[in-house]
């Protein structure tokens, strides 16, 4: 599996799309949070709030990382080269989750540092670290969609539907009562400053969510016929 992870990392560093997506996510999030800072919120909480609405950009990585690669049949090359599907699955998932979560976390860190340096806000690393399981859990949904459809168009559509449902859910009445059960909505708890009231249950839910989606993704990939 190490050589597959190495190949995935080589590919990421020689491909411009991850960097473009990161730049896009960072710039859009930065532009949006300017308005909220004026309303007296911290840079970090504003970034958390808007990160939620920019999740479709993270979904785009899944579209390129899974949908596009199944479409171009480059994942199939790994299979025909005699690599086990288990190794292929874990290599791709590890690199995807690392890349996606890094984009979210680095953006939050940059905004938290800006807040600390320019606005004298406290550097709240603890919140960022404790939210990582929820970011991972949220990112497993596009992983599942990618492995389920193995197609760029359907992965894109699936990711967008998930995004729309997420946005709809946070606009639902009483979301704060059941936000703990939805990893993507857990950042609202952090945004409202009540995230730590639900520990460790929210992290347990994130772990369960991650395991369920990864098992489902593996199940649809390991015995499926590839194009």
């Amino acid at each position: 599996m190490a050589k597959l992870i190495k190949a995935e990392i080589y590919k990421l560093f020689h491909s411009i799309y991850l960097w473009c997506i990161f730049a896009c996510y960072l710039v859009l999030n930065s532009i949006l949070l300017v308005d909220y800072i004026k309303r007296g919120m911290t840079c970090l909480t504003s970034s958390l709030y808007f990160g939620f609405f920019l999740f479709f950009i993270i979904g785009a990585i899944a579209v390129l990382f899974f949908g596009n690669e199944f479409d171009q049949r480059v994942i199939q090359n790994y299979v025909t080269a005699g690599n086990s599907r288990t190794a292929i699955f874990f290599a791709k998932v590890i690199v995807f989750l690392t890349g996606s979560v890094s984009i979210i976390v680095i953006t939050l860190l940059i905004h938290a540092l800006i807040g600390m340096i320019f606005l004298g806000e406290p550097l709240d690393i603890k919140t960022i670290v404790c939210l990582i399981p929820s970011f991972i859990a949220t990112c497993t949904v596009p992983v599942f969609i990618g492995f389920l459809f193995k197609d760029i168009g359907k992965t894109l559509a699936g990711s967008l539907i998930f995004f729309v449902l997420s946005v709809a859910s946070v606009n639902t009445k009483g979301i704060m009562e059941w936000a703990i059960y939805l990893p993507d909505a857990q950042r609202l708890l952090a945004y409202k400053g009540v995230f730590f009231d639900y520990l460790p249950m929210n992290i347990i839910i994130d772990v369960i969510w991650t395991i369920v989606f990864l098992i489902a993704s593996y199940a649809v990939f390991c015995r499926s016929n590839l194009k």
Partner: protein
């Protein structure tokens, strides 16, 4: 058995209600070039997918170098190179970078293999050009390079000359022959350009509606497709004698329906006619016959030549 690269026993593949492969039993011997011939949807690519692990059989057994368990098959696939239904490439990367990804994932330590392989397919000078800007032929050649990167013992090429110009086709043909001759590589090629296969393969496998309808060697096929003169006369025995004595014909036979098949003088029918008429033999039919591979295949599957 190590002498057989691939062996399938009654292998079947069903997609919902469609039976894509029906009880296919096949043995591919080491060191041969197999032409895999069938119409669209006949089951060629399905069989290739089963061999390469992209799909799973619904019945039967598949063995690579005599190994048939799932774990063993996976290990044996490291000895295979394949190009299936066109090249699978990262279009936003260069040819070298594409090869590098493949080199890393296959765990090949020697980096120089990339240059050597690119050189072999004539792509060593593409520099920083991204694959998305390559012509169809260049992509196809890069796909072949990817398949050759691990110097495979068994090379599977599904439609390898798609998109290639005549010079490219000739290069690929020569490359396949060289790989077979110099490295003893066993090669399975499917192509719609049957005459091209005829120039390349040493053995042929015909598949139709998911079933293998014939396996035949080049020599046997040539014998069956050979150009010949078919002669119908009033006196076949006398005609046979005349052809042997006057024209010194050696490759000649009389068929059960008394038609004489002569495998010489194909371009000189006048000489045959003159020799027979000089001996007062009435010639009632004098025609040149012989199938191309395409005609032979179409006759096999009951189509029109």
């Amino acid at each position: 058995m190590e002498s057989f690269v691939l062996e399938t026993k009654g292998i079947s593949k069903k997609y919902r209600s469609t039976l894509a492969l029906d009880n296919v039993s096949l043995k591919l011997e080491k060191g041969k070039i197999y032409g895999f011939i069938g119409q669209n949807g006949a089951g060629k690519t399905t069989l290739i997918r089963l061999i390469t692990g992209l799909a799973f059989p619904t019945g039967g057994e598949l063995a690579l170098w005599g190994k048939s368990s799932e774990k063993e098959l996976q290990e044996q696939r490291k000895r295979i190179g394949s190009l299936i239904e066109g090249p699978a490439l990262y279009t936003n990367m260069t040819a070298y970078q594409n090869m590098e990804v493949q080199r890393i994932q296959r765990g090949i330590p020697d980096k120089s293999i990339i240059e050597k392989t690119l050189n072999l397919v004539g792509l060593s000078d593409t520099g920083r050009k991204k694959v998305r800007n390559f012509s169809l032929g260049m992509k196809q050649r890069l796909g072949i390079a990817v398949a050759l990167l691990n110097t495979p013992e068994f090379l599977i090429l599904d439609e390898p000359i798609n998109g290639l110009d005549p010079a490219g086709i000739k290069e690929v043909r020569n490359l396949i022959k060289t790989l077979n001759k110099e490295y003893g590589m066993t090669i399975l090629i499917s192509s719609h350009i049957l005459e091209e296969l005829h120039n390349t393969a040493t053995d042929f496998i015909f598949i139709d509606k998911g079933r293998i309808i014939e396996e035949i060697s080049e020599a046997e096929l040539n014998e069956k497709c050979k150009q010949r003169v078919e002669i119908k006369t009033s006196d076949p025995q006398k005609a046979l004698m005349v052809l042997e004595q006057k024209l010194h014909a050696e490759k000649i036979k009389v068929m059960p329906d008394n038609t004489i098949q002569l495998y010489e003088y194909v371009d000189d029918l006048e000489k045959i006619a003159a020799a027979l008429s000089n001996e007062d033999i009435l010639v009632t039919g004098l025609t040149v016959k012989g199938d191309t591979l395409e005609e032979y295949f179409l006759n096999k599957i009951g189509g029109n030549a």
